[in-house]
C-alpha cells in the first residue's frame, strides 16, 4: 500500500521549482490524504469477498493516479486534444503552438496517426513515456503553450473493431482483400496516451459532436480529468453549443463553458502575427486562467478529488445490489440460530422435567446442609445420614451428569459427536438444514468459500463445534441450575421458617418429655402410681418421627412448589445464551464483515462529500464528469 501522505511530503521537498506547496483555497489537503488512506484500507479490507476484490482491482487502477496527483502537484498540466477525425484537432494545436507542428488538412483521413506533443522550450517532459506510443515532441514559443504540455492525439473513430487482432479477428463481410483500416491502430494509441493526460480538450464539429465512438472514449477517460470543450469550423458550421451541452449533460458531463473557434483562421492569424479572433482569444485566456500556475494545482487537486469520488461512486454502485442480500444473510443467520435454539429449548426443558427427582435431591441436600442447631435440624441430618447409606444413582446422559455435578462429558469422535448433541435436541440434519439455507442466502450476497464453510461440516469442525456447544450448554445449565436451587433454598431457608419448624417439632418433644416428667414426678413419686415402663417412650418416638416426617414433607413441598414453571422459565432464557453459534458462526461473521465493508464505503462517501462541499465555490469553468457516468 502506498503511503500517500509521506509521498506527498517528499515530493513537496523534491519539487523541481522548489516552490512551497500553498494550500488551495477551500481544499483540505489533510482531509484528502486521510480519505485516500481510508480508501486504500477499505479496498483491501475484505479480500475474500469477490465484490470487494473487484473494488480492490479498480482501486489498483485509480491509486497510482491519485498518488501522482499528490506527488506532482506543481508540475505543468498535460492537455490531451481529443476528438473525431477531421474535426480540426491538429489545426487547433497548430494555432495554439503558433506554427505548423502537426500535419493537418483534408488529404486523407485520418491525418494524425502518431501523437504530437507540444512543449515550451524550458519545460522538461522526459517523465512522459512517449516512446511507447511513438509520439513526436516539438517545441513552441507560443504564449498559449508556455505553461502546459499539449498533446495532439489520434482519433478514436477510424479504427475498426477487429483491427487490433487482424489474424484471429472476424472476416470482413466482403470476403475480399484486407482493408487498409486493418493497420489502423489510432484508437489503441489514443488509449495509451490518454492516461498520461491531466486535462482533456474535447474538439468537435457540427458533424461529430454526437459521435458515439468519441463519447465512449470520453466516458472511459473523463473520471478525474477536467474537460475543456471547443467547437471548431466556426466559419463553416452553425453554432451547436447549446445542443452539445445538452448531449454532454445526457452523458453525465457538466460543461459550464464551450469555446467556438475557427482553427484555420486562428492559425492563419497566428502565422501572420495578427490579433486573434475573439473565440480563439477566449480559449487561450481560459487555458491561461484555468490551467496554469496556481490554477494547475487546483485542477490537479479537484481532479484527484473527483477521481476519488468517481471511484467511490462506481464501487458503491456495484455494491448497492448486495446490500439487501447481506442484510438478509444477517437476518437469516439470526433466524436459523433461533430455530436451532428453539429445538434445544424444547429438548432441554423435557430432559430437565424428566430429571425432576434429581433436582429435588440436590435442593434437599443443599437445604439440609445449611440447617443446624435445633432438634428438627438434627432430625433432618439424621434422615440425610440414613439416605446416604442408600447407593446413590449416578446421573446418566448429558443433563444428568451436569445435574449431578460431574461436569461436561468429553465429545466422542465421528457420528458419536452428533449423537451426543442429540441429547440437547439437535441433530446433524437440523444443523445441515440451517447451513444449507444460509449457504443459499450467502450465495445471493456473493459470499462463498472461504468466508463461509460448506453445508456439511468436516469431522474436525463437528468435533470442535459440538465440544464448544456442549461446554457452553454445560456452563449455562450449571449456572442456571445453581441459581435456581439457591433461589428456592433461600426462599425456604429463612430464620422465621426455621424457628417455626423448630418450635413445632420442639413442642412435641417438650410435650412428650413433659408428660414423662409429669407421670414420674407427680404420678409415681407424689401419688405413688407404679412406673409405666419404657413402652410409652417407644410410642412417643414413633409420634416424633411421624411429626418430623410430616414437617419435613411440608418444608420440601414448599421447596418443590412451582418447580416445573421455574424450569420452563430457565429454558426460555436459552436463546439469549448464543449456544448454537459454533455451528453457524461463519455465516454471522461473514454477514457482519460484508455489512461493515458497505458501511465503511458509505462513511468514505460522506467524507468525500464533505471535502467536495468545501471547494464547491472555488470550481472553475472547466467541465467535469459528474458522479454518475452515462
Amino acid at each position: 500500500m502506498t503511503d500517500i501522505p509521506s509521498a506527498a511530503l517528499k515530493s513537496a521537498a523534491d519539487s523541481p521549482a522548489g516552490a512551497a506547496l500553498q494550500p488551495a483555497p477551500g481544499f483540505d489537503d489533510a482531509g484528502f490524504d486521510d480519505l485516500v488512506t481510508g480508501l486504500s484500507r477499505w479496498s483491501a479490507a475484505l479480500p475474500d469477498w469477490p465484490p470487494a476484490r473487484r473494488v480492490r482491482a479498480e482501486w489498483e487502477e485509480v491509486a497510482p493516479r491519485l498518488d501522482r496527483a499528490r506527488r506532482e502537484l506543481s508540475r505543468v498540466l498535460v492537455v490531451g486534444v481529443i476528438g473525431g477525425t477531421g474535426t480540426g484537432k491538429s489545426t487547433l494545436v497548430n494555432a495554439l503552438a503558433g506554427r505548423d507542428v502537426s500535419p493537418a488538412g483534408d488529404v486523407a483521413r485520418p491525418t494524425t496517426v502518431a501523437p504530437v506533443v507540444v512543449v515550451a522550450r524550458d519545460v522538461d517532459c522526459s517523465w512522459l513515456a512517449l516512446d511507447e506510443v511513438g509520439a513526436r515532441v516539438v517545441t513552441s514559443d507560443a504564449a498559449a503553450v508556455a505553461n502546459i504540455v499539449l498533446v495532439d492525439c489520434p482519433d478514436p473513430d477510424t479504427q475498426g473493431p477487429g483491427a487490433p487482432l487482424p489474424a484471429g479477428g472476424a472476416q470482413p463481410p466482403t470476403g475480399g482483400a484486407q482493408r487498409p483500416s486493418t493497420h489502423n491502430h489510432n484508437r489503441d494509441l489514443l488509449e495509451r496516451i490518454l492516461p498520461a493526460c491531466d486535462v482533456l480538450l474535447l474538439v468537435a464539429t457540427a458533424q461529430k459532436y454526437r459521435s458515439w465512438s468519441v463519447a465512449s472514449e470520453v466516458a472511459a477517460f473523463a473520471p478525474g480529468r477536467p474537460l475543456l470543450f471547443v467547437q471548431t469550423h466556426a466559419s463553416r458550421d452553425a453554432d451547436i453549443r447549446d445542443d452539445w451541452r445538452q448531449e454532454l449533460e445526457r452523458q453525465g458531463i457538466e460543461a459550464p463553458a464551450i469555446h467556438r473557434v475557427d482553427g484555420l483562421e486562428a492559425a492563419r492569424r497566428a502565422a501572420a502575427g495578427l490579433e486573434p479572433e475573439p473565440g480563439f482569444a477566449g480559449l487561450v485566456k481560459a487555458i491561461d486562467e484555468e490551467l496554469v500556475g496556481r490554477a494547475a494545482r487546483r485542477v490537479r487537486r479537484t481532479g484527484a478529488l473527483d477521481l476519488a469520488g468517481w471511484f467511490l461512486h462506481q464501487a458503491l454502485g456495484q455494491l448497492a445490489p448486495l446490500r439487501q442480500p447481506v442484510a438478509d444473510l444477517s437476518a437469516g443467520a439470526t433466524a436459523q440460530a433461533q430455530r436451532l435454539e428453539g429445538l434445544m429449548e424444547k429438548a432441554v426443558a423435557g430432559t430437565l422435567r424428566a430429571s425432576r427427582p434429581a433436582w429435588q435431591r440436590v435442593m434437599e441436600e443443599e437445604l439440609v446442609e445449611r440447617w443446624h442447631g435445633g432438634p428438627f435440624a438434627m432430625f433432618l441430618h439424621a434422615l440425610a445420614g440414613l439416605g446416604r447409606l442408600w447407593p446413590r444413582v449416578r446421573g446418566s446422559g448429558f443433563v444428568g451428569r451436569v445435574l449431578s455435578g460431574q461436569g461436561v462429558p468429553p465429545v466422542a469422535s465421528g457420528d458419536g459427536a452428533w449423537q451426543s448433541i442429540g441429547e440437547v435436541g439437535l441433530t446433524e440434519a437440523d444443523v445441515e438444514q440451517s447451513r444449507s439455507i444460509l449457504v443459499g442466502l450467502a450465495a445471493r450476497a456473493a459470499i462463498g468459500e472461504p468466508m463461509v464453510g460448506r453445508v456439511r461440516l468436516d469431522e474436525r469442525a463437528v468435533q470442535t463445534s459440538v465440544g464448544t456447544l456442549m461446554e457452553r450448554t454445560g456452563h449455562w445449565l450449571v449456572g442456571g441450575v445453581d441459581r435456581l436451587v439457591a433461589e428456592r433454598r433461600d426462599r425456604v431457608d429463612s430464620a422465621w421458617s426455621r424457628a417455626v419448624c423448630e418450635l413445632l417439632f420442639g413442642a412435641l418433644v417438650v410435650a412428650v418429655l413433659g408428660r414423662a416428667a409429669w407421670s414420674f414426678f407427680y404420678g409415681h413419686l407424689w401419688l405413688g402410681n407404679p412406673l409405666g415402663g419404657l413402652g410409652f417412650l417407644e410410642e412417643a418416638l414413633v409420634w416424633i418421627i411421624l411429626w418430623g416426617l410430616c414437617l419435613r414433607w411440608i418444608v420440601f413441598a414448599r421447596l418443590r412448589a412451582g418447580l416445573d414453571r421455574d424450569i420452563a422459565g430457565l429454558v426460555t432464557r436459552l436463546p439469549g445464551a448464543r449456544l448454537v453459534e459454533p455451528f453457524l458462526h461463519d455465516f454471522s461473521t461473514a454477514a457482519v464483515a460484508a455489512a461493515t465493508f458497505l458501511e465503511t464505503g458509505d462513511d468514505l462517501a460522506r467524507r468525500h462529500a464533505a471535502l467536495e462541499a468545501r471547494i464547491e465555490e472555488g470550481r472553475s469553468t472547466l467541465g467535469r464528469l459528474k458522479g454518475h457516468g452515462p
Binding site: 473525431g84 477525425t85 477531421g86 483534408d106 488529404v107 486523407a108 483521413r109 485520418p110 473513430d157 477510424t158 479504427q159 475498426g160 473493431p161 472476416q171 470482413p172 463481410p173 466482403t174 470476403g175 475480399g176 482493408r179 487498409p180 483500416s181 464539429t205 457540427a206 458533424q207 461529430k208 459532436y209 454526437r210 459521435s211 458515439w212 465512438s213 463553416r236 458550421d237 452553425a238 453554432d239 451547436i240 445542443d243 448531449e247 445526457r250 452523458q251 437469516g332 433466524a335 457420528d415 449423537q419 441433530t427 446433524e428 440434519a429 437440523d430 445441515e432 438444514q433 444449507s436 439455507i437 449457504v439 443459499g440 442466502l441 450465495a443 445471493r444 460448506r454 453445508v455 456439511r456
Partner: protein, 629 residues
C-alpha cells in the same frame, strides 16, 4: 443524364422478376423454420439471430419483397449531420424531413411514396419492425419516436414527379450516440435496393460509417455516393483519394459519385447542386460540366437489374456458409451438444442415497395380520384377543416403569428420524446441484437462479409439510400389500395352509410372542437407523422374527421354505413402504426446488437432433443448389 445506367422504368421484365419469384417457396419455408427454431435457440442460450446480417436480409428483404409487386426502395444513409435530410428533400422535391443544424435530429425514417402506391402496398409488411404513420409535417421524424416504438413516417409525393415504383427514404444516423437510430437505419438498409451514401470529408473513413456501407455492399445493394459539403471546386481533386479509401474499405462498387458544394444559402433554400464525377466510375472527367438533377438520374436507373442484384445479394448473405444462416444452425447444434454434456454432469452429480430408517415392523406386520384376519380360525382369533389383552397389560406396566413407549410415541420417534434423513438428503442434493453447476456453465445458467435466489427455508418447510401430511400407511400401500400377499398365497398355497394351521395349533403356546410383538414393535428402529443400518438389515431382522414366530409351531421342516419363500416377499413389502415414504422428497424437489427444469434440460440436450434442425439444413442445401443454378 448520363449519370447511371439508364433504362425506362417500364413494367418489370419477366425474366428478371421470375428469377427471384421462383425462390418464394424456399424463402417462405426458411422463414418458417427459423421462426420455429427461434424459441428453442433462445432457450439453448444461442445469441438472438435478429442482430445477424442474414436474418435482416431474410426477414427484412427477401420475405416481404419476394412475392410482392416489385418496388425499388432507395434510402439516403450516412453519419450524423452530414445532410441526409437535405439530400432527401432535394430528391423528393419537397421538404419531407426537416433539415436542422443540430446533429442526429432525424429519429425515424421518412418515406416518400409515388402517388397511388400507399394504397397498393402494405408498408408494415414491406418494412417489418416499423409502424407506418402518415406524414403530417416535416417535424414528424424529429424526437417523438421512443425506443421500442419504431415509426416509419410516409407521405405520397406531393410534386407527382417520383417514378411509379420508387420509394425514397430518409434515415436516421449510423454513428451517433443514440444506438436505436443505428438499428433503425440498419432495418431500412436491409429493405432497400439502392443506397444514396451521404459522405463528408470528416466522415468517409469513420469505422461506423464504413461498416454500415460495407454490409450494404456485401448484401448486393447498389450505392450512389454523394460527397456533401465539399469546398468546391478547391477540394475536387481530393475527392478521388477519399473515394478510393471508401471503396477499398467497403468493397462497394458504386453506380455513380456526386459532389455537393458547401453552400449555406443553397442549403437553406433546399437548392443544393450535385456535380457528377464520372471519372471515378470509369468515365472521363469534365470539369466544366454543369450540375445534374440527382432525382432524375435515380429515376433513370435500371430498376429490374438493381432489384435482382439486391435480391440475389440478400439471398447470398443468407446462404453464406461462413456468416449466413448455417452459422446459426451450427450454434444451435453446438449449444445442444453442451446441454447434452450438462445433462451428463447432472446425472453424475445429482444422485443422492436417501438413508431412510427401516420401516417400523409393526406397521407392515399389522397389514399382514389384517390380511390374515379373515383366513384365521375362530379359536386362534379368540385366543389372540386374549393374548393381546394380556400383552397390553404387560405393555402398560412397561410404560409405567419407563422401559416401554406407546405406539404413538414410537411413531413420533420414527417420523422424526425419517424427516431428519429426508432433510439431510435434501441438503446433500442441493449441495451436489451446486457442484454440478460449478462444473457446467450451462447448468449454472439454468439452475443458478434457483440455487442462489431460491428460498431454501421454504423448500424445507415444504418438505416438512408434505412429510407431516403423509399417513403412516396409505391406501395405496394397503392395496399393494394385499396384492402382494394374494399373489404370494396363490403361488404358495401350501405354505399359507401350513401357517394358518400352525397359528391355530400353536396359539396356545404363543403368549410370549404376542407380548413380544407389542413390546419390540418399532422401538429398536431409531437406534438401528442411527447406527447406519439400511433396508437390508431391517429385512433380515424381520425375516428372523418370522422364523422365530413360526419355527416353534411348525418345526424345523418348514424353516427352509419360510426363508426361501418369504424373504423376497417381505423385502418387497418393506421396500414398497420405504419407496412411498421417500416420494415426498421427490415431490418437493420437483414441485418446489427444480420446477420443470429437468424437462427443459432434457429438451435442450436433444435439441440438436430435432427434425426442424435437419429440415433447416436440408433447406439451406437445396436453396444453395437452386441459387447457383
Amino acid at each position: 443524364m448520363a449519370a447511371v445506367p439508364h433504362k425506362t422504368p417500364a413494367a418489370p421484365r419477366p425474366s428478371a422478376v421470375s428469377r427471384y419469384v421462383a425462390w418464394a417457396g424456399s424463402v417462405g419455408e426458411l422463414c418458417d423454420v427459423v421462426d420455429r427454431l427461434k424459441g428453442l435457440a433462445a432457450e439453448l442460450g444461442t445469441p438472438s439471430p435478429e442482430g445477424a446480417e442474414w436474418y435482416g436480409q431474410l426477414f427484412g428483404k427477401l420475405r416481404p419483397q419476394v412475392t410482392r409487386e416489385p418496388v425499388m426502395v432507395a434510402a439516403v444513409c450516412g453519419g450524423t449531420n452530414t445532410g441526409k435530410s437535405l439530400v432527401s428533400n432535394v430528391l423528393v422535391g419537397a421538404e419531407i424531413s426537416r433539415s436542422l443544424p443540430e446533429a442526429a435530429r432525424t429519429r425515424c425514417p421518412v418515406a416518400s411514396l409515388p402517388r397511388g402506391l400507399a394504397a397498393a402496398v402494405d408498408l408494415a409488411a414491406l418494412f417489418p419492425g416499423f409502424t407506418p404513420r402518415a406524414w403530417s409535417s416535416d417535424t414528424d421524424a424529429l424526437g417523438g419516436s421512443a425506443a421500442g416504438d419504431d415509426l416509419l413516417v410516409w407521405r405520397e409525393d406531393p410534386a407527382g414527379r417520383q417514378p411509379a415504383r420508387l420509394i425514397l427514404i430518409d434515415t436516421p444516423d449510423v454513428d451517433g450516440t443514440l444506438r436505436e437510430n443505428w438499428h433503425r437505419a440498419e432495418a431500412v438498409r436491409n429493405a432497400c435496393d439502392v443506397i444514396v451514401a451521404v459522405l463528408t470529408q470528416q466522415k468517409y473513413n469513420d469505422a461506423a460509417v464504413r461498416d454500415f456501407f460495407a454490409a450494404a455492399a456485401a448484401a448486393g445493394k447498389s450505392l450512389v455516393v454523394v460527397f456533401n459539403m465539399v469546398n468546391w471546386p478547391a477540394q475536387r481533386e481530393r475527392i478521388a483519394g477519399w473515394y478510393a479509401t471508401f471503396v477499398a474499405e467497403t468493397g462497394a462498387v458504386p453506380l455513380a459519385v456526386y459532389a455537393v458544394p458547401h453552400d449555406f444559402a443553397r442549403a437553406e433554400s433546399g437548392t443544393i447542386e450535385f456535380f457528377h464525377l464520372p471519372e471515378l466510375t470509369g468515365g472521363s472527367a469534365d470539369p466544366a460540366a454543369p450540375p445534374v438533377d440527382l432525382a432524375a438520374a435515380l429515376a433513370g436507373v435500371d430498376f429490374d437489374r438493381i432489384k435482382l442484384q439486391a435480391m440475389e445479394g440478400a439471398f447470398r448473405v443468407v446462404l453464406d456458409p461462413a456468416a449466413g444462416m448455417a452459422t446459426w444452425l451450427e450454434a444451435i447444434e453446438s449449444s445442444s451438444r453442451e446441454w447434452h454434456d450438462a445433462r451428463g454432469v447432472l446425472a453424475e452429480e445429482a444422485q443422492v442415497r436417501v438413508e431412510l430408517p427401516s420401516a417400523p415392523r409393526e406397521l407392515v406386520w399389522n397389514e399382514i395380520w389384517r390380511w390374515l384376519e379373515p383366513r384365521r380360525s375362530r379359536v386362534d382369533i379368540n385366543l389372540s384377543r386374549l393374548y393381546r389383552a394380556a400383552g397390553s397389560g404387560v405393555a402398560w406396566v412397561g410404560r409405567r416403569i419407563g422401559v416401554g413407549r406407546t405406539e404413538e410415541e414410537r411413531r413420533d420417534d420414527f417420523a422424526a428420524v425419517e424427516l431428519a434423513a429426508l432433510k439431510q438428503a435434501l441438503a446433500t442434493f442441493i449441495d451436489r446441484l451446486e457442484g454440478a453447476c460449478r462444473r457446467s456453465p450451462r447448468l449454472r445458467a439454468l439452475l443458478g437462479d434457483t440455487l442462489v435466489g431460491g428460498d431454501r427455508a421454504a423448500w424445507y418447510a415444504d418438505l416438512e409439510r408434505r412429510h407431516a401430511a403423509l399417513p403412516m400407511v396409505s391406501d395405496d400401500y394397503r392395496a399393494f400389500v394385499r396384492g402382494e400377499l394374494d399373489r404370494f398365497s396363490r403361488e404358495n398355497p401350501k405354505f399359507l395352509q401350513l401357517l394358518l394351521t400352525g397359528l391355530s395349533v400353536g396359539s396356545v403356546a404363543r403368549p410370549c410372542i404376542t407380548v413380544g410383538l407389542m413390546m419390540a414393535g418399532a422401538a429398536a428402529v431409531p437406534a438401528a437407523a442411527a447406527a447406519g443400518h439400511g433396508l437390508t438389515t431391517l429385512v433380515h431382522t424381520a425375516g428372523d422374527y418370522v422364523v422365530w414366530a413360526v419355527a416353534p409351531l411348525a418345526g424345523e421342516g418348514v424353516l427352509g421354505l419360510t426363508m426361501a419363500g418369504l424373504k423376497p416377499l417381505l423385502e418387497r413389502l418393506f421396500a414398497g413402504w420405504s419407496a412411498e415414504r421417500s416420494r415426498v422428497l421427490t415431490e418437493t424437489l420437483h414441485d418446489v426446488v427444480l420446477g420443470d427444469r429437468l424437462e427443459v434440460i432434457e429438451r435442450l440436450a436433444t435439441a440438436g437432433g430435432r427434425p426442424e434442425v435437419a429440415r433447416a439444413r436440408r433447406l439451406l442445401y437445396d436453396c444453395g443448389r437452386e441459387f447457383t443454378r
